[in-house]
Subunit: 146 residues, 3 copies
Amino acid sequence: MAALPALLAAVSLLSALQLGFFARRVGMSRMKHSVMPPATNGPPEFERTFRAHQNCLEFYPLFQVVLWTAGVFFNEAIAVVFGLAYLFGRHMYFFGYQRATKERLPGFYLCVVLLLTLTGLGAAGILNRILDEYFDIDLPKKIFRW
Amino acid sequence: MAALPALLAAVSLLSALQLGFFARRVGMSRMKHSVMPPATNGPPEFERTFRAHQNCLEFYPLFQVVLWTAGVFFNEAIAVVFGLAYLFGRHMYFFGYQRATKERLPGFYLCVVLLLTLTGLGAAGILNRILDEYFDIDLPKKIFRW
Amino acid sequence: MAALPALLAAVSLLSALQLGFFARRVGMSRMKHSVMPPATNGPPEFERTFRAHQNCLEFYPLFQVVLWTAGVFFNEAIAVVFGLAYLFGRHMYFFGYQRATKERLPGFYLCVVLLLTLTGLGAAGILNRILDEYFDIDLPKKIFRW
């Protein structure tokens, strides 16, 4: 079978479990505030919980793309560390948002910084690979004179 | 080119077609009930159809992650069978929800059970790979004395 | 590390950046029209911007699946060209929708045609691979007598 990197897959699986966990919290908030599907409007606490989950979902495929790009084309261990930090940021974000709209911000900023970092690492890795594969230029060697 | 498993990719492609099919049903429901974009509120039947589609979308990246993790790190054929069962569950869910809010539940529970199963298989496969790769421990051999 | 195709990954990364860019435009629209989270209702321009972003998000995992399927199982270069055209279509769609509901349509139709094309290419590639791998039938040879 394709030799996909196990540690990246472990982070992806953990992140999927986290999303499932958040989905369950939305379900519990529906019960608590008697907001029956398909309604998505209700008391402020429910709406904050619902939107917190939605925001996590909106960023999820994005996160997967930059995690795997950075992990495959730059460095698996670094991507794993930043990926786990992102899950921590999402945890802060979700429970912060559930408490108060303003408290979503620290976790959110952490997540954005991590996503941008992973994007940068992935872009560097891909650029390096493309230069190497299609133009036969070994960038790290040129820069660091390894 | 990378030797990605063809049967898993076939399930992914089928699931993408299913989502496209659901998106079209939402469009048809918009027409039928004269709910023009960007509105997402309307008669109960439209709102149920809209939320059914949203729920399928919310779980889609999650499904992809656990399908591929189980398929790559555990067993492709088993993941394909559970993946196809998941598509069947989503079909039940979508058309059940469109008829009545309560009728979404059988399909939904089937999908949740399948997602958890795929997650468990994927986690077992990854754990086994990590133990083997980083700690040189062959778990199946230890357990089953193969 | 797994030899994932660098050009496909570059398109995925670009598409992730585009989604981030759209998310920022929604944030700016929130500011401009004073629609504070978690609210998602507001003046028509905000609602159009919000829904435009949502629609891009809804199709994003779908796009990733058909892009990679077509790129891995059919042809990387062709998938990359159609993938970049899709990003252009999403650009037209987003800014068209922000201006007026009707102006979302040209970009949307372009995107749907591209998604269906990528789906067709991916399905052809997977079918070919499955016939070759499991039934030992070389379809292109049979058809074109190569």
